[in-house]
C-alpha cells in the first residue's frame, strides 16, 4: 500500500503525521510473533487489496439505516459514510459544547488550543496501527465538553460502509475532551451494509479532567466481512469516572485495544464487555490499566459466550506503579463455550510494584451449570430457552451499569436474538 502519496503536506498536523508514517513503515503490521498479537492474525486481511480513500462520495437514506441508530431516543449524531462525513444524516451542535468533526477541529483556528493540548498526546506513538491511523485519518468525531457542562442528549457516532468500493480500509479518528465536572454519554457503532470487505482501524482519544464522567458504549455487531481494530486511549485526572462498555456480537475479526491511564488520584475506571460469537468470528479484547497515582480503582468484567468455530481472546494487563498505593484493581473474565470447536485464550497480566494494594483477577471457562438447567426445565422451560435464559443471566451483570435504558433494552434484544430465542418476558 502506497500511503505516502496521499499525505497532505500543508496540513497543520503534518509533523505528527510524518513521524507516524515513519513509525508505521519501520514496524509494519503486527505479526503473530509479537506477544500481544499471538492469538490474532492479520495475515488474511493483509492479502486483501484495500483502498484507503473512497473514490466517490456515497450517500444513504435515513430510512435505510434507521435501525442502526438508537432511534427510540433523541441524540446528537455524527455520521460517516465510507469514511466521509454525512451532514445529511448527522446532527451536530456548538451550543455550549462542541459536537462536530475532526477535520474542522484540525484545521479551524478556534479549535487550535484544544488540538495543541490534546491531539495525539495519549495515543501511542509506538504502536504501528495507531501510527497508521494518525498518518492517514481524515475524519472522525470531535467532542469537546467545557467545564460543568453536559450535552442535553447522548451522542451517537456511526460509521457506515456502503460496499460501493470493493474493499475499503477506514481510519476514523475521534477526540473526546471532557473538562472538569463535565459529563458525556457516547455510543459508537461501525456498520457495513454489504458483503464487501471492510477493515476499520480506529483511534479514539478520551481525556477526562477532574471529576468528569464519561460513558462510552461500543456496539460491535457488524457484517461477517467487516473487521475492526479499535484503539482507544483514555487519560483520566483526579476523581474522574470513565466507563467503557464493549458489546461484541458480530464482525469477522475484531481487536479491541483499550488503554486506561490514571493520571490522578481517586479515579474510577470501568471496562465491561459482553461477547457473543458464532460461525468463525474472532474477537480479541486487550485491556490495559496503568495505575500511576495512589487511591484509584479499576474494574474489569468481561463475559464471553462462544459457539460454532468462534475464537476469543482476553488479555488484561494491570500495571500498578510503586507510588500507586491503595490501588484497588479488579479483573474478571468468564467464558462459556457452547461448541466443541469454539475456543478462548484468556490471560491476566499483573505487574504490581506497590505493596499496599488490592488486586484480584479471575477467569473461568466452562459450560452451563447442569443443576440450574434442571431447575429451569423442571418448571416447564424447554432446554433451548433454559439455556438462553441462563446465558442471558450470565451476561446480565455487565448490563446493570448501562445508564441509557433504551440502549440497555436494545442490547438485551441483541443478546436474545444472538442466542436465537424469544424469551417469555420483555427484556
Amino acid at each position: 500500500m502506497a500511503f505516502e502519496n496521499n499525505v497532505d503536506v500543508e496540513h497543520p498536523v503534518h509533523d505528527v503525521r510524518t513521524a507516524a508514517i515513519k513509525n508505521f513503515e519501520e514496524k509494519g503490521f503486527p505479526s503473530k510473533k509479537e506477544e500481544a498479537w499471538k492469538y490474532t492474525s492479520l495475515n488474511s486481511l493483509q492479502k486483501i487489496d484495500f483502498s484507503i480513500f473512497p473514490k466517490q462520495e456515497n450517500t444513504l437514506e435515513y430510512k435505510d439505516v434507521k435501525r442502526y441508530f438508537l432511534h427510540e431516543i433523541d441524540s446528537y449524531k455524527i455520521v460517516f459514510v465510507d469514511g466521509i462525513y454525512s451532514s445529511y444524516l448527522s446532527e451536530t451542535t456548538h451550543d455550549g459544547v462542541d459536537i462536530c468533526l475532526m477535520s474542522s477541529a484540525l484545521t479551524k483556528p478556534m479549535y487550535k488550543q484544544v488540538i495543541d493540548v490534546y491531539f495525539n498526546k495519549i495515543a501511542s506513538k509506538d504502536e504501528s496501527l495507531t501510527s497508521l491511523n494518525t498518518a492517514f485519518s481524515r475524519e472522525g468525531a470531535y467532542i469537546y465538553i467545557p467545564k460543568n457542562k453536559m450535552p442535553k442528549k447522548p451522542i451517537e457516532i456511526l460509521h457506515f460502509s456502503t460496499g460501493n468500493e470493493a474493499s475499503l480500509m477506514l481510519q476514523p479518528r475521534n477526540l473526546v475532551v471532557v473538562e472538569e465536572n463535565a459529563e458525556v454519554q457516547i455510543i459508537e457503532r461501525h456498520q457495513s451494509l454489504t458483503k464487501n470487505e471492510v477493515l476499520t482501524n480506529a483511534v479514539t482519544e478520551i481525556y477526562a479532567a477532574k471529576s468528569a464522567i464519561v460513558d462510552f458504549y461500543k456496539i460491535q455487531n457488524d457484517a461477517s466481512t467487516a473487521s475492526l481494530i479499535d484503539n482507544t486511549y483514555i487519560d483520566q485526572k483526579d476523581k474522574s469516572v470513565v466507563k467503557v462498555h464493549t458489546f461484541s456480537f458480530g464482525g469477522k475479526l475484531t481487536r479491541n485495544n483499550l488503554n486506561f491511564y490514571q493520571n490522578g488520584e481517586f479515579i474510577d475506571s470501568t471496562m465491561k464487555g459482553v461477547t457473543i460469537l458464532g460461525e468463525k468470528q474472532h474477537v480479541d479484547h486487550h485491556t490495559l490499566v496503568h495505575h500511576i497515582e495512589p487511591n484509584c480503582e479499576s474494574h474489569q468484567d468481561y463475559k464471553g459466550i462462544y459457539g460454532d468455530s468462534s475464537t476469543g481472546v482476553f488479555n488484561g494487563k494491570i500495571i500498578v506503579d510503586k507510588i500507586a498505593q491503595k490501588t484497588n484493581a479488579f479483573q474478571q473474565n468468564n467464558n462459556i463455550l457452547i461448541s466443541d470447536k469454539a475456543s478462548i485464550n484468556t490471560k491476566p497480566q499483573l505487574e504490581i510494584f506497590a505493596d499496599d494494594v488490592k488486586c484480584s483477577h479471575g477467569c473461568t471457562i466452562g459450560q452451563l451449570d447442569e443443576d440450574a438447567m434442571f431447575y429451569l426445565r423442571s418448571r416447564g422451560i424447554p432446554e433451548k430457552e433454559a439455556r438462553a435464559l441462563l446465558m442471558y443471566a450470565f451476561a446480565n451483570n455487565v448490563l446493570s451499569s448501562v445508564r441509557i435504558p433504551e440502549l440497555k433494552a436494545r442490547i438485551n434484544k441483541l443478546i436474545a436474538k444472538k442466542l436465537g430465542v424469544n424469551l417469555g418476558f420483555d427484556l
Binding site: 434442571f374 431447575y375 429451569l376 416447564g380 430457552e385 435464559l389 417469555g424
Partner: protein, 250 residues
C-alpha cells in the same frame, strides 16, 4: 394418577433406588420418610426427570403414560412439580420474569397464547398474598441471597403459580421456622384439591401436623420398607428409624 412400579435407579453405576412401588391417586397426600441416604431425594429427582440418574428397571407412569422418554419440561407441562431441597440461585433473572417465562412456556406447549400481562399480574398478586410474600421480593434475582426460608417459600409460590397435578415437596420444611412453616403448609393446603396429589418428603413429623397425609411410607436403602396411615409418622417420631432398619434386614 402416578404409578411407580419396581423402580430401580442408579447414579454412576451406584444403585440408589432398588425397587420402589408406589401408587398415588388424585386427592391424596403421601408422606415419604426415612433416614439420610435412604434415596428420598433421588426418588423426587427421578420423578421430575433429572437425567443424572439412570432408570435401570421398572417404570413411572403418569395418567397411564410411561415417563421414560419424557423430558423434565414435558413432565412439568403434564403437571409434575418438584419443590427443590436446595433451590438453585439464578442471578440476573427476577422471580417475576422467571415465573412469566415458565407459565408462558407451559402455555405454548399446550398450544395456548401467552397469558395477557394483566392476568399475569393478577395471578402473581393473588399467589404472593397467599404465601405472604412481599412485592419487592418478586423483583429480586431468583433465589440469589435468599435465606433458607425465603427459598422454600418461593418454591411453594412457584407451585401455586403453576398449579401442578403432582407436587413433590422435597424437605420443604427444613430450614423453616414455625411461622414460615405455618405459612407454607397453609399455602399447600389451599392448593390441595380432589384433582391433584401431594408427595411430602420429610425427615420429621413436624410438617405432617400441618399437612395431614393419607399415607406414610418409610424409605430405607432404596426401598419402601413400611407403609401405613398418618399414625405411622408418630410412631417413627417416637421410636426413630432403627427398629425399621432391623426389621428390613431380617
Amino acid at each position: 394418577m402416578l404409578k411407580i412400579k419396581n423402580l430401580h435407579a442408579s447414579v454412576e453405576d451406584k444403585e440408589i433406588l432398588r425397587g420402589i412401588n408406589l401408587e398415588v391417586k388424585a386427592g391424596e397426600v403421601h408422606a415419604i420418610m426415612g433416614p439420610n441416604g435412604s434415596g428420598k431425594s433421588t426418588l423426587a429427582s427421578v420423578i421430575a426427570g433429572k437425567d443424572e440418574f439412570e432408570v435401570t428397571e421398572g417404570s413411572i407412569e403418569l395418567y397411564g403414560e410411561d415417563l421414560e422418554d419424557i423430558s423434565p419440561e414435558e413432565r412439568a407441562h403434564m403437571g409434575v412439580f418438584l419443590s427443590f431441597q436446595y433451590p438453585v440461585e439464578i442471578p440476573g433473572v427476577s422471580v417475576t420474569n422467571f415465573m412469566k417465562t415458565a407459565i408462558n412456556e407451559s402455555r405454548k406447549a399446550k398450544g395456548l397464547e401467552d397469558m395477557p400481562a394483566k392476568e399475569m399480574l393478577k395471578l402473581i398478586r393473588e399467589k404472593s398474598e397467599l404465601l405472604e410474600i412481599d412485592r419487592k421480593f418478586l423483583s429480586r434475582s431468583l433465589n440469589e441471597g435468599f435465606s433458607g426460608g425465603e427459598k422454600k417459600r418461593n418454591e411453594i409460590f412457584q407451585m401455586a403459580m403453576l398449579e401442578p397435578k403432582v407436587a413433590i415437596l422435597d424437605e420443604t420444611d427444613s430450614g423453616l421456622d414455625i411461622d414460615a412453616l405455618r405459612i407454607v403448609a397453609n399455602g399447600v393446603n389451599k392448593l390441595k384439591s380432589k384433582d391433584n396429589a401431594v408427595i411430602l418428603i420429610t425427615h420429621y413429623q413436624r410438617l405432617l401436623e400441618y399437612i395431614v397425609p393419607d399415607f406414610v411410607h418409610v424409605l430405607h436403602n432404596g426401598k419402601i420398607v413400611k407403609s401405613g396411615g398418618k399414625e405411622l409418622a408418630l410412631e417413627l417420631e417416637e421410636k426413630g428409624y432403627d427398629w425399621l432398619k432391623q426389621e428390613a434386614t431380617v
